[in-house]
Amino acid sequence: MPTSTLTTKEIVRAIQTRLLDFAPLGGAASLRTLLGGRVYYVTVPNTAQFPYAVMRLTGRSSSAQHRGVRETPDVELTIWHREDVWALEAIADTADQAMLGWKDTSAGVMFAQHRHRNPIPPGGTETDRTVIGILCRYPVVLWPTLLTRYIGASAA
């Protein structure tokens, strides 16, 4: 299915699809298998099963240099699991492979060129200490149809 970048919902769906369906070299499991498809956007249902990932688009800024239509947000992916640190790292490994070097030119160019990845230290008694997390950031470049379709159009 071709990607659409006409709405934020469709941009998020395109990133979720990329994350879930990316097939690592060598036949390793995709995130759809490892996470059971659980890549949420912003909020998580309280009944969510571990492991799961939460995605946000942060810093959706653009500059006048590209008439404001070239966005450079971070795809922030927080991955949570319970106790199994190596399973958690494996999920983050797969996410890194899915996002790094990703380039989609089908409808509004999206690409990711670098990444940051940090484990979240376990908390104190106020937090569930059996839960472990990794915070991944993928700075991406977007030329969303949402904005680019007005280039060349006469002012309203």
């Binding site: 942060t58 908390g123 104190g124």
Partner: protein, 139 residues
């Protein structure tokens, strides 16, 4: 006529101006972070005046190619601001969203990051303040 270099004094003056400008710029960011926290996280119960007052400037330090200063929190034990910014899964019973202490269940995840939006919102103001103070110190 003998020539006496004034270069060391000039360098020292430029360095002082840069440090003063960095501190001034960081204050702009710190104010923005404090403002962002004033509405609380979710209910408002978990941001106290104490937590806002502990948003502080780090020390000026060298890094390869320049100097830097951070805006951070002195509330590190327990690191509540850190947990809210990165996300955390509360222990059972920490939150009871209207259900009462006997029936409260696990909350999947909490995350309210005030730092990133504040940094983005204040970036241009901080740059302008840096330029203003730097020019003033060298005038």
């Amino acid at each position: 006529m003998a020539y006496r270099s004034n270069l060391p004094n000039t360098i020292a003056r430029v360095n002082r101006a840069r440090d003063a400008a960095l501190i001034a710029a960081a204050e702009v960011v710190r104010t923005a972070v404090k403002d962002e926290h004033r509405g609380g996280y979710t209910s408002g119960l978990f941001v106290t005046g104490n937590e806002i007052s502990k948003i502080v400037l780090g020390e000026l330090r060298n890094y390869p190619g320049g100097r830097e200063i951070s805006v951070t929190t002195a509330q590190v034990d327990p690191p509540y601001p850190f947990w809210w910014a990165t996300g955390f899964v509360p222990a059972r019973g920490v939150f009871s969203p209207g259900l009462g202490p006997n029936t409260q269940g696990p909350v999947a995840m909490m995350k309210v990051d005030h730092w990133t939006p504040a940094a983005a919102k204040s970036a241009s103001g901080a740059r302008a303040e840096y330029d203003r103070v730097y020019a003033m110190e060298l005038a």
